[in-house]
Symmetry: C2
Subunit: 224 residues, 2 copies
C-alpha cells in the first residue's frame, strides 16, 4: 500500500495523525482509509465542551473524501459540532484477539481510521434528501424507493454533518502474535481468535402487514 505523500494519499500525514508508536501499522492512502470506513456503520465522534471531551457513537457514511453523520437537530452533540469546533472522527473494527506466549505480547487485530477536522452542516432540503438517500442505499440498496421519504418537517428536525477527510490516518494490525524468540519454546497455545460482526435472521416488526417478505438486501448485508 502506498505510504506518506504518495499521489494516492488522502493527505500527507500531519504531525497530529502520523502513527508514531508502531509506524508500520500506519497507512495514509485513500484506498485503505476508504475501505475501513466503508466496512463500518457506527463511528465515535469526539468533541469538547468547556474542556470536557465527549465521545458519542453515531451512524455514519462516506462519499468521496467526506464522511457524514446525522441526528436530531435537538441533539446537544450536533448543535455543538455544527459550530465548527474541532472534532475527531474514529471508526474501529475489531478483527481478532492475538494470543501470545507472554502476557506482554498479547494484542488485538484491528483496522481503525482517525480523522481530525471541523464539521459543517449539509444545507438545503435537496442536498439533505440526497445525503439521506445515500446513507439508506449504502445500508440497504433499493430501500429508499420502498419507504416513505422524509417530510419537510422531518428534514428540518434532522441535522446532517459532513467533514472532509483532509487529515486522516488508518491503523491496522493483522496476523500472528510476535513473541520474543525464547518464548516460542513454551508449551502454550498461541494464535488468533478471529472476531467479526454477523447479521442474524431478520426479525419482522410485530405490526408488519401480512404477506411482506424480508427483502434481499437484508440477507446480503455484511459489515466489517
Amino acid at each position: 500500500m502506498p505510504k506518506d505523500g504518495s499521489p494516492d494519499a488522502v493527505t500527507a500525514p500531519s504531525q497530529r495523525t502520523r502513527v508514531r508508536r508502531i509506524p508500520g501499522r500506519g497507512h495514509y492512502d485513500r484506498a485503505t482509509v476508504h475501505a475501513i470506513l466503508d466496512a463500518g456503520l457506527v463511528c465515535h465522534v469526539g468533541y469538547a465542551i468547556d474542556g470536557q471531551p465527549y465521545v458519542t457513537p453515531t451512524g455514519y457514511w462516506r462519499e468521496g473524501d467526506r464522511v457524514y453523520w446525522h441526528g436530531s437537530s435537538a441533539s446537544r452533540m450536533l448543535r455543538q459540532q455544527k459550530q465548527g469546533i474541532p472534532v475527531c472522527f474514529t471508526v474501529t473494527h475489531l478483527d481478532g484477539i492475538v494470543f501470545a506466549r507472554s502476557g506482554f505480547h498479547h494484542s488485538m487485530n484491528y483496522r481503525s481510521v482517525m480523522a481530525l477536522g471541523k464539521a459543517a452542516t449539509v444545507e438545503g432540503d435537496a442536498a439533505k434528501l440526497a445525503a439521506l438517500e445515500a446513507f439508506t442505499e449504502r445500508v440497504a440498496p433499493g430501500r429508499w424507493r420502498e419507504i416513505r421519504p422524509p417530510s419537510k418537517q422531518e428534514l428540518k428536525a434532522t441535522t446532517i454533518l459532513h467533514m472532509d477527510l483532509a487529515e486522516a490516518s488508518a491503523k491496522i494490525r493483522t496476523g500472528d502474535p510476535v513473541d520474543d524468540e525464547p518464548d516460542y519454546a513454551l508449551p502454550c497455545w498461541a494464535g488468533v481468535l478471529p472476531l467479526r460482526v454477523m447479521a442474524g435472521t431478520p426479525q419482522a416488526d410485530a405490526k408488519l402487514r401480512a404477506g411482506i417478505a424480508a427483502p434481499g438486501y437484508l440477507k446480503r448485508f455484511t459489515l466489517g
Copy 2:
C-alpha cells in the same frame, strides 16, 4: 431497572451525563452500566490536546466501579491521560439495524456507556501485575498461568490507567421500529436486522509447537 438516584445507581446522573434527547433510553443503575461494560473488549477514549479532541480505541476491562485500560508507556494517548486531564470513556455495542416504514424512523438498536472523569495510573509492580492478570483472565479464564508473566522491564514499559465510574450513564435502544400511525399501512418490510460479534475458528500461530490444542476458553469466548 432502577433509574435516577436509586440506591443501586452508580451515581445520580449529572447534568453532563443525563440522557436528554430521548430520556427513556437513559439508565444510571450499576447493574445496567456494568453489564454493558462487561460485554465489551474495546472502548473509545476521548481526550483533548490544545483544544483538539482525539478518540482512541483501546482494550479495557472493569473491576467493581472502575474501568481500566492500558498500553505502551511511550503512547502519546496514555502520557496525556495519566496527567489527570478530563477524559470520556465510551463503550458501544451495535445490536441491530432498525428498518422503519419511513426514512425518518430508521434507527439502530444499541447499548452504550459513557463515563466522564480523570484517569490515574496503577502504581507498583504488584498492583500492575494483578491488573494485567484480571484483564487476561476476563478474556481467557485460565490463561494467566499458561503464559510467561511480564518481566520487570515489560511492566515498566506498560502503563495502566483506571478511572472511577463516578459519572456514568448507559443508553439503550431495543425492539421494533416505532412508525407514525398512518405509515403502518405501507407495503414495506419493517423490523430489525440483528447484529452481533461472533468468534470464528481459532487460527494457530504458524510457529505453534506441534501437539498443542486450542484451549477451551477460545471456544467459549463470547462478546456483546
